[in-house]
């Protein structure tokens, strides 16, 4: 059974405007990396916003484990079931790498007492050096911030990882390292959905979906 299923999904920003997405139907399964590609304005980021529960479809539905996500509390869905890695990271700059990760765990309602240790383990897993753990993310490089964003998305162990242009701001070497992390997550049974422009990333994915003017 699909982890995430899109059924005839449509979306438009305003009532009078044209559809950004029209009748998109897709299935995403665990243990695979999906690449959603398409030209600018094809609706890739909009699709990711819908998958992450940040936007509401104007028609159709998104099923998570068979349940319509519009019936699930959107905050609970975002904090527990999907981990989102934003294009511009969206970390809290005044917090350290560890604090950003721990905050996500808190929001997800995790009761573990050793959240800091879990955060450190996760940061280590995405190749952040221990001396960077307690540094404010503002002082970290783009690649490091992207890794912290990945660690944050993984912190509450969601089944689905959504990534918006995760390698867009990174050099080729770092891009490879990030893709290795995603591969590892897919191997661990996660469903990784990446929105990307990069042909290399698309190539590294198991399944590629191309959006053309809002249609699959």
């Amino acid at each position: 059974m699909s982890t995430l299923q899109l059924e005839n999904l449509s979306y438009k920003y305003e009532k009078a405007s044209a559809n950004v997405l029209s009748g998109v139907s897709l299935n995403f399964e665990s243990g695979k990396i999906y690449a959603i590609v398409g030209k600018s304005g094809s609706g890739k980021t909009t699709l990711l916003s819908l998958l992450s529960g940040l936007a509401k479809p104007t028609a159709g539905k998104i099923l998570y484990d068979g349940k319509d996500i519009s019936k699930i509390d959107k905050y609970e869905y975002r904090s527990k079931y999907v981990g989102v890695i934003f294009q511009s990271f969206n970390l809290l700059p005044q917090l350290t790498a560890t604090e950003n990760v721990v905050l996500s765990m808190n929001i997800a309602g995790m009761k573990d007492k050793n959240k800091t240790q879990i955060a450190h383990d996760l940061l280590g897993k995405v190749d952040i050096e221990p001396e960077e753990f307690d540094r404010r993310v503002l002082k970290l490089s783009g690649g490091q911030q992207q890794r912290v964003a990945i660690a944050r998305a993984l912190s509450y162990n969601p089944q689905i990882i959504l990534a918006d242009e995760p390698t867009g701001n990174l050099d080729g070497e770092t891009q490879d390292e990030i893709m290795k992390i995603f591969r590892r997550l897919a191997d661990e049974g996660k469903c990784v959905i990446i929105v990307t422009h990069s042909p290399d990333v698309a190539k590294a994915a198991d399944v590629k979906f191309e959006l053309r003017k809002g249609k699959k």
């Binding site: 609970e76 975002r78 934003f86 294009q87 969206n90 809290l92 905050l103 808190n106 929001i107 997800a108």
Partner: protein, 556 residues
């Protein structure tokens, strides 16, 4: 729980912003603390003083209502005035209560205790002379002469209504000395308050009929008397009737009490000429005198007077609290007190009057608090709105990763509350330190302002304010005795002039010693909470309106 931790961390991270909010909150807290302390001081001053005060009351004839009652018996449409004769008859019939009657009402539940005193005037005999600053005492016409001569009585220059006035009336002639007989220590209020104090010998035993007395140090010096000396006083209506007193103590008068001043037309009204003894002793004198007294009817006035020494009973009921005093009137009525008598207390009125400046200050403080509160709330709302706009991105991220909006709002409100609370704690400390001196300084200004207003009012009516009454140089110890060139003829003949003179000098409560207490702290926290809630309301509304996708997309 993590919300509070986040809030605390957030406070420590954005020091500059929070210090600014803190300073504003601190200014509000200090101002609010002082204002609340003033209000609390006023309230406490009232409660504490009332709880410590022994409230006293007297039963007296209610002439005003009696006159109204009499008027009620005639028909105004007849165009005639009410009958003076019937009114006079009624008023003369309204005798003061006797001791036994007073004692009936003393059984009222509200009464804590009672005391009473009897006062009468007696004449000097032999070499004994009263202190006389008015020249009303004429030794040649006193004491040793066999009969009382009306023409020798002090004549009042000017007098009421312009004619000569003598003190002889229903009570008989006015003597040179006022002799006061007290029932107990409690009755000797001047000694309790410290206005008078024994400087030699001891006070008389109140339970004896022996004619032991105490006299003022001035009278003792004036007549070369000392403890152990004997003085002889005479009935002013019958100078053959004399009474010997043994001086057992000498007292000094420490303070000028307005109540001691009784007009100063006769030497007997001078408190230095008061001879104090026991109630029992003076009662025995009055009773003895009454037994051998004759009744004399004046041919001209038709007034019948007795030659007996006439005593005036002053019975005082003491109450533990104001509520008891307020209940007493009804209880006395239930015990049979006639409607023509009224219960009154000068203590409560004097106390209320003394609180006027503090009450005014308290009202001003209330308005000040309201203004501070409104201005503070507006400033905090504006700062908060800027704060929220500045932290829009943070709100977007937090909600995007699943933090519920109400939790974000709670975190922001908590941050503001913690800062406000810290400001309140520091503000309460500063407020506690400055509230008493600030209150007293403001109170002083308020009293001055009240006194100036009072003086201006008096001057507006052409009266001399109390402070510079012409020639009144009575020294402390001779309360109410106008000295120097005080001349009654200088006074206007109407009652107004007399009122001006008798008007109570404002004896205002001029100092408070209360500081910020738990009540003020609790009120302050209440104010802080309310300010936090009001000022965060705008930010909460902003937070609830923000959509994470919009915030984050705009940023991208």
């Amino acid at each position: 729980m993590y919300i509070i931790k986040n809030a605390l961390r957030s406070i420590s991270r954005a020091k500059g912003r929070n210090i600014l909010i803190g300073i504003i909150a601190l200014a509000i807290a200090v101002s609010a603390c002082v204002a609340l302390s003033i209000r609390e001081s006023a309230q406490k001053a009232r409660e504490d003083t009332l709880s410590l005060m022994n409230i006293t009351a007297q039963i007296s004839v209610d002439r005003s209502s009696m006159m109204k009652g009499d008027k009620g018996n005639f028909d105004p449409s007849s165009g005639q005035r009410p009958s003076f004769d019937s009114m006079k008859e009624m008023l003369q019939g309204s005798s003061e209560l006797t001791l036994d009657e007073y004692e009936i009402y003393a059984k009222a539940q509200s009464v804590k205790s009672t005391y009473y005193s009897l006062s009468a005037t007696l004449d000097a005999t032999g070499d004994l002379e009263p202190i006389d600053t008015k020249g009303t005492f004429d030794k040649g016409n006193r004491g040793d002469s066999a009969t009382s001569d009306e023409s020798s009585r002090p004549q009042m220059p000017g007098g009421f209504g312009g004619g000569n006035f003598d003190f002889k009336g229903m009570m008989g002639a006015q003597g040179d000395f006022t002799v006061v007989g007290y029932s107990s220590d409690e009755a000797m209020t001047d000694f309790i308050s410290g206005n008078k104090a024994i400087v030699d010998g001891v006070v008389f035993d109140q339970n004896t009929t022996e004619n032991n007395c105490i006299i003022s140090d001035e009278l003792a010096t004036y007549n070369n008397l000392e403890v152990g000396s004997e003085i002889t006083l005479a009935n002013p209506n019958n100078t053959d009737e004399t009474f010997s007193f043994k001086i057992v103590g000498i007292y000094t008068i420490n303070a000028t009490e307005n109540s001691n001043f009784m007009g100063g037309f006769s030497t007997a009204t001078d408190s230095a000429n008061q001879i104090l003894t026991s109630y029992e002793a003076l009662k025995a004198i009055c009773d003895t005198s009454s037994e051998s007294a004759e009744e004399v009817t004046d041919e001209n006035s038709g007034l019948t007077t007795s030659t007996a020494v006439q005593g005036s009973l002053n019975y005082t009921y003491v109450f533990a609290k104001v509520e008891d005093y307020e209940a007493f009137a009804d209880e006395a009525k239930a015990l049979g007190l006639d409607d023509k008598y009224t219960v009154s207390s000068s203590d409560v009125k004097e106390f209320e009057d003394s609180l006027v400046p503090l009450e005014n200050l308290s009202t001003t403080a209330g308005w000040f608090l309201l203004i501070v509160f409104i201005i503070g709330a507006v400033i905090l709302i504006v700062i908060n709105m800027f704060n929220i706009r500045e932290r829009k991105y943070e709100i977007g991220v937090l909600t995007a990763i699943g933090m519920k909006k109400w939790k974000v709002a709670t975190q922001f409100v908590t941050e503001l509350f913690v800062i406000t609370l810290a400001a309140i704690i520091i503000g309460a400390g500063i407020g506690a330190a400055v509230s008493v001196p600030v209150t007293n300084t403001l109170l002083e200004a308020q009293i001055e302002s009240n006194q100036e207003a009072q003086n201006d009012r008096e001057q507006g009516f052409g009266r001399n304010p109390m402070g510079d009454f012409g020639g009144m140089t009575g020294k402390p110890g001779m309360p109410g005795m106008p000295g120097g060139d005080f001349n009654m003829e200088d006074l206007p003949e109407d009652k107004g002039g007399f009122d001006g003179f008798m008007q109570d000098a404002s004896n205002y409560l001029s100092k408070v010693s209360y500081s910020t207490d738990l009540v003020v702290i609790a009120e302050l926290i209440g104010v802080g909470l309310l300010l936090t809630l009001i000022s965060s309301l705008a930010s909460v509304m902003f937070i609830m309106r923000y959509e994470p996708l919009k915030i984050l997309s705009n940023r991208d």
